[in-house]
Structures are given as C-alpha cells and as structure tokens.
Chain length 423, copies 2
C-alpha cells in the first residue's frame, strides 16, 4: 500500500472523529501484499452495558446463565483464531425460545472458545449436562465387546442408528470457519475415509457436484442432510457459502455415513434396518476409530480433552457427542400419561423420525439417550438398551390388555401420583 | 486475568500446533478488565486462492467484477472499525442470483469499506450505476422550488412516495454494527426527530414495545417494516438482535416516516395518497434537511462525500439514495410489449406494490426512478415526472382505442422492431 493511500485511510479515520488507537503495518511473506491495518476500532468505546443483549424474555440456557458482569468480562476477549464472545451467544440472542425444548442458545466458534469463555460455558455445561462441573472428567469407552444385549425386537423396532460429531483440531468450527478451513476439513476427512476398506469401503458425494434430484433423493432416504433452515443455525452463520465443501461420504452398503461440514466438521452415522443396535454400535466404534487412526497418521487430531471429551459446535453435543436411537412403533405406550415421565427417569428423549421438532407420524417415535457428557459410549448404549427393552415389555403388556404399573419404576409412579394430586 | 489463566491459554494455543504469532496484553482503562488477546490466528495461513469463493455460476454484480487477484489483495485488509472484505461479499456469495433482477451481491460494513476496498467497490459502482467512474462527482440538489410539474392525474396515480437512506458517520452499518452502535443510531436519530414541530411533529414507536398486532397493522398499512426475511439480508447479518433498537418514527399525519435500523440506519419516507408528487417531494426535502440540521447541532454527520454522495449499506443506494415513485393503475399500457423497453429508455423501473419481487395485483404498478447516483434529487424527480406523464398519456390513448406509436420515443420503437426482426 502506498503512503498516499495510507494517509487517505488515516484521514478517513480521523475525519470521523475516532482516535487512531494504533496504526499497524503488517508485511506478509509469501506473496501476500504489504498492507496497513488501521486499528482505531470503536468496537469497545461503548461500555459493556450498552452492548448487553436484551434477553429478559429469553428461554434458553445462554440467557439463563449470562449476566451483565459476565458479559463485561468476556466480550472483549478473542480466541487465538479470532472468535469473539458475541459470536458464541448470537444464535441464542436471535432465537429467544423453542416451543419444543430448551435450546442451549450458544455455539463455540473454535475449540478454544470453551476455554477462553469458560466462565460462561462452564455454567451452560453445568445446567445442560445435569450438574457436570469444571473439575469433572469425561470417560471414553468404545469397547463394544463389553455391551450386554442390544438385539431388540424387530416387531417394534424399525431401525437403529448411532451418530456422533467430530471436529478437526486447529480448524474453526462451522459458525466461524473460513472457506479455506471448511475445504481443508473436507479434504482431511474425505482423504482419510477413502483409505478405508472392507465393510468401510466407500466414496464421497460432494454436494456441489450433485444434481438437485439426486440430493433430494438422498435426503428423503435419510442418508443425506439438506441445507439447514432452522433459525438458530442460520443465526450462527453455519449456512455460509452453501453448498461449498459440504457432502456425504458413504460406505458401499450405506450403513456407515459421514456428513461433511453440516453443523459439525463431521457427523458420523452408523445405521441399519431392524433392532440390532449392538451391531450398529459395533460398526460405529470400528468406523470412528478407523477414521481417527487415519487422520492421526497425517498429523491431525480430533478436538478432545479429558474434561469435555470430544468437542462439538454445540455445547449440547460435548463428551461422547453420541446419540444412539431407535425408530420404534408404540401406539399403546405412547398414549400413556406416564410415558414422558418414564423417558425422563430413564435418561431417554423422544423425537419425531424427521429430526428435532418433527411431528410424530404413524405412532413411530425416535427414542434415544438424552445424555452425552460424563458417561462413556458403552454406558450410554446400555442405558438406551435397558430403556427400549422396558418400552417393548410395556407395549406388549398393553397390547395384551394388561397394566404396566409394576413395570414402571417406582419413582415414576410416585412422581405421577404426586403431580395428579397437586393438579 | 491471572497468569495461570494466561499460561493455560498459551498452552491451548501451542498444543493445537499453531505458532503463537504474538501475545498482546491489553489493559483497558475505565473499569474494563485487563485481559489477554492471544493473536496466533490461522485466518491467513491459507493462501488467498484456497479461500476464494466459488462464484462461477453466480449472476450478481459482485461475482461479475471479483477476480482472484482482487480478492488476494483485499481479503486481509480491515477497515478502522474492523470490517473485512469477506463480510462485504458474503451476501452475494450466499445468494447466487435473483430471478427478478440483478442484485449487487455485496454490502458495506461501514463508511470506510467503500474506501478500503475501493478496487472492488469502484467496479461494482461503475457497472451498477451506468458507468459512474471513481473520479466522477455526485451533485446534490434538494431545492424543491426548481421542480416543474408534479401534480399527476389522480385518476391513474393512487399514491406518491419518495424515500432515501441515511447513515450516521462513525457508527457501523446494519450488517456489521454492534448492539451498542445500533442503539446509538436509534438514540441520535430519534432525539433529533423528536425536536421537530409543525407538520413534522411526531413520535417514535419502538418495535420492542409494540404489540404484535399493532406491528402487523402498521406493516399492512404500509407505514412500517417487518422483520426482513430476504436471504441476502439474513446473509448480511442485518437481522441480528431483532427487534432491538428497531422502530418507526412518524409525524402525526403519518406522511413523513423514518424507519430506524432496518437495512439502513435510517430510511426516510415521504408519502401521500394521490398524484401530487411535487408536494411529497417538498415534504421529503424539508424533512430530510431538518433532520440533518438537528443531528449536526449535536455534533453528528450523515455519511457523505462528494464522490459517492450519501452513503448506504447497499452500493445500489449511493448518491441521492432516493427512490421516488407512484402507484399507478395501467391495465392497458402494462400489456403493451414495448412497456418494459419504454421504462428502460426513460430510466424508470417497475415493481409490485408490495416491494421488490412482489407480484402485480389489480394492474397497479410501482413506477420509480432507476438511477440514484450522479444525478441530483431534482433531476431524478424531473425524470420520474416526465415518465409518468407519458405513461398516463399513452394509457389514455389506449383507453380511447388509439395507438401509442407516435407517443413512444423513436429509440424504443427502433429497438422493438430490431428485436422482433432478429427473433
């Protein structure tokens, strides 16, 4: 940049009445042009209070834990990759509440967000993950041979699915990444997956080279993701540059899938028809481990630490990042007024089969583990298996015209009776 | 921040394999906490080419002028307020084309964007504003007494409207502003407007304190804006923090309106029923000038320079920022195959009455000037008046069963005949 250009810039800067806090000339090597970065930003000339979001009516975890004092402390920090606290809370500021469930209302722009803004994220994690404390350690256990049971009755269970998210250390997460980083994520993961063989031999379907009809078909079959339209994803900036560097990697049997650059760097999915979730989990563990080995060979790591486990864009998906679930047809039990209390007591959650917020069609529910962090993969699978086995037992009993009173945990019966008394 | 916290940060930074480019301790005065900003960002460790957007299929002005060489030069510059080139082009990267018209595909994050990224914006402005060059000077003329004519036939013209955008110098534009800046815009403009009297006496209706039904009613009556849903606004980040610091200021007669913090800091609108656009323009000039005087008294300025005139978020709205238009019912002329050629030749544009992209209802068109920059307000008004007068003449002729051949400019007849020959 010429000196005359430079003085024009400084002139502009001072003509608008801002003190030139500092003028830094940065000369980049390797062909990058020498340029000036004039740092007289007015971003912080307003006190923190004047920039505090209006979240009094908000109903998400972000709004629950954020205070003006905390905001004042965090808003001027920046992570090594340049992520700010305001970027982390923006989705929750823009989306006050969800009628179906309580959202976290925040995202991490990079791995370091969880550390640099820990005063905030520690509290969100504590609230969202049932009292998980900053000194707690996450346990990883993907030894599928330890699993007991898991061959669930195909008469009720239509399909089984285990998914997780993984992120590549050193590259920013989808809300904050550049196009170059997103493409690097795609390259690193797809190159690693393409080395796999046997049941994991597969290929990559980049979204950019996909015909609209082919994409639509893959979405309808449940293999592929569509462009996210949920306002919280859009507010987080996760749909930028769509469809650049997004795609589906699938093995030949299409029972091991990796979504590239949707809401996490990688969403890894093992799925199959019927109730053999033990087999689904075995394939999940093998595939995820193979991918981790392959990226390590090239010098890459997944984002991970012993407190938070595997790291994800959403604080809701930390730890195992694992959601193991079944699609199960339960026309009888689902109408029992104690069904929701039972799910809660068993650490399970229900959804429609079309994803979060989707309606229930044909009495088929997506039942999955509700916990992610502080419990191992094997533990969470065991919780799910026990829960679904109980659900099937109760459904059978109801079909026979019997009662499920003795099959429900005592705590659920008590809670239900107490609620009915007070009501 | 304690030293142990600091070493944790540096540890994180080095553990992820990034060179710590520099660790800057920044101590803010005035109660702002001492904090560390670790600057080992990897934003530029990728070469520019790897971050270049995939815009080969795009059809907007941004994609037309952007080249990898230009991107390489601009992507690492930052404006004094911290706006980047990538922020400016993101709306056009995310929205390849609009079926109805060619969009600019870019925004300015602040006044200085037009200067710091001038290699890019100069070309967009040249293409969008019919060859307006970097050395051209914009002319301002809001002397409404110079206007000739402007009492248009009420039998055809249902309503008249003149609007512009204005921005407060020193505060970032809606795509990039903080909540504090947005609230400051609201404060500065509303305080100034509240000092007006006579026909400009009015009050402020902040969106946050408005009942949903009241808001809906104001939108339907054409006085107020709704939450922007157009993907290019969302991609530009202009809906962040909605409805914070947005609102409508209106005089008592509701014929002089100011939209606060929609897509510009202020959108100023003069409107009334019937065809007296001369009166609409007079009120527009008086009101806009009064507002400018009032903010000046407090030490504020509108963003303006002699090359670009008044500055706006969109490069399409530079100069006068003025769109003067009428709602006109022309069932006959609008069906003539030469109508669009006529509008183009007269520097006019048509829309539906519900805004850009809205459908035509009941043969009523919104006809307005298509130019903004390089011509004065009085000149643009004169162009509109002449065009609408011609439209009314032709419509009358067609109603009588006559022909409009001799009423059309020769250039339009020639162009139409040439097109039909080649077709």
């Amino acid at each position: 940049m010429s000196m005359s250009k430079m003085s024009r810039l400084v002139a502009v800067c001072s003509s608008i009445g801002l003190a030139a806090g500092g003028v830094a000339y940065t000369a980049y090597k390797g062909g990058e042009p020498v340029h000036a970065r004039v740092t007289c930003s007015n971003q912080y000339k307003f006190p923190a209070g004047s920039n505090y979001p209006d979240i009094l009516q908000h109903r998400n975890y972000m709004a629950q834990v954020l205070t003006p004092e905390m905001y004042n402390k965090l808003r001027s920090r920046t992570t090594p990759h340049g992520c700010t606290f305001d970027e982390c809370i923006q989705p929750g500021v823009d989306n006050p509440s969800n009628p179906h469930f309580k959202e976290v209302g925040c995202i991490a722009g990079d791995e370091e967000s969880y550390e640099v803004f820990s005063e905030f994220f520690d509290k969100v994690i504590d609230e969202r993950h049932e009292g998980y404390k900053p000194w707690d350690k996450h346990i990883k256990d993907m030894d599928y041979t330890k699993l007991k049971g898991g061959c669930l009755d195909d008469k009720f269970v239509l399909s089984s699915r285990v998914r997780t998210g993984r992120a590549i250390r050193g590259l920013r997460l989808p809300p904050s990444c550049t196009r170059a980083e997103r493409r690097e994520v795609e390259r690193v993961i797809v190159e690693a997956l393409n080395t796999l063989h046997g049941e994991f031999k597969g290929r990559y379907y980049p979204l950019k080279k996909m015909a609209a009809e082919e994409h639509q078909k893959l979405v309808e079959e449940g293999f592929m993701f569509g462009k996210p339209t949920a306002p919280q994803y859009v507010a987080a900036g996760m749909t930028r540059d769509w469809p650049d560097a997004r795609g589906l990697w699938a093995n030949d049997s299409k029972n091991f899938l990796v979504w590239i650059n949707e809401r996490d760097h990688a969403r890894i999915i093992s799925m199959q028809k019927g109730g053999n979730i033990a087999q689904t989990f075995m394939r999940y563990c093998k595939g995820v481990n193979l991918l981790e080995q392959e990226i390590s060979k090239k010098g890459w790591d997944f984002m991970w630490n012993e407190h938070l486990g595997y790291m994800a864009t959403s604080p809701a998906d930390l730890g195992t990042g694992m959601r193991a679930g079944v699609h199960i047809k339960i026309p009888m039990l689902s109408k029992d007024p104690r069904f929701d209390l039972f799910l809660q007591a068993m650490h399970l959650q229900k959804r429609g089969t079309g994803g979060t917020d989707s309606p229930i069609v044909d009495d088929v529910y997506d039942i999955s583990n509700s916990q992610r962090l502080g419990k191992s993969e094997v533990e969470l699978m065991q919780v799910l298996i026990k829960g679904v086995e109980d659900i099937i037992k109760m459904e059978k009993e109801l079909i026979k015209g019997g009662t499920i009173d003795r099959l429900l945990p005592a705590s659920v019966r008590d809670l239900y009776n107490k609620k009915n008394k007070t009501a």
